[in-house]
Amino acid sequence: MTKSTAREDDALWAAVGDPTRRQLLDALLARGGASATALAADLPVTRQAVAKHLAVLDRAGLVRAEKVGREVIYAVRTEELDEVSRSMAKVAAGWDQRLARIKALAESSSQ
């Protein structure tokens, strides 16, 4: 992913803020790569809806599309999603998770 701009931040929030798109990411991770048609068979949404969600994920840089024969195969850009999800884990964390991290840090550094 290129250096972030306000526009990309918005695209990223929009991409991961939607439950269907998170399901799509899960399905893509499980399959490795898949066409919109194959994904629509996995999820309770139409192929058209899947294509729209994939376009949003693509704009956010989380998936890539590759033409294979007559099909377009989508795959998760694992490195990007890894980096994004780590930052997201921090921004989305509640205090329980933060206090657990403080506890772990303090206890490991006092041993």
Binding site: A92, L99, S109
Partner: protein, 152 residues
């Protein structure tokens, strides 16, 4: 307990001074809270916590009473509000520390949700989210990606 606040307590098996350092020093805050942090550790000092591509939290240090009280006001980045909002969107975060045996009791209070500039519904949503709402999903995602990469 007031609905306006989030309150948590955790008992830590480490001395007060160690916990104080981790809670207040920028290089530690940049580990447990954000990706990096800049904190001018004195009342009125500026606080900046970065969350990668998700933006940053801006705020002001309110109280530094070593080793028992650290408080700051902050405006957090949220999916449903624009970046760069003013302090009328800030909540108050207080860390209270006290020795308990050989360990430390750390108490967290985040308050001021009811008096934020957003609507009552927006403020309630924010309080829920800060309390721990959607973080679990993301932690699962991180684990899932780690296992997907390991088996690739």
């Amino acid at each position: 307990m007031a609905v306006d606040s989030i309150e948590r307590e955790v008992l830590i098996d480490a001395p007060l001074e160690t916990v104080w350092a981790i809670v207040t020093e920028p290089e530690h805050i940049g580990t447990w809270l954000g990706d990096s942090a800049e904190v001018d550790l004195k009342p009125g000092g500026e606080l900046l916590i970065k969350f990668g591509d998700f933006g940053q939290a801006n705020g002001t240090v309110e109280k530094v009473e070593r080793p028992s009280l650290f408080a700051f006001r902050w405006v957090t980045p949220e999916p449903d509000r624009p970046a760069g909002l003013g302090m009328e969107h800030a909540t108050l975060v207080e860390f209270q520390l006290r020795a308990e045996g050989d360990g430390t009791m750390l108490r967290l209070v985040e308050s001021g949700f009811d008096s934020l500039a957003g609507s009552a519904e927006e403020n309630a949503t924010l309080r829920e989210r800060h309390g721990g709402g959607w973080g679990t999903f993301v932690e699962q995602l991180v684990d899932y990606i780690a296992s997907a990469k390991a088996s690739a």
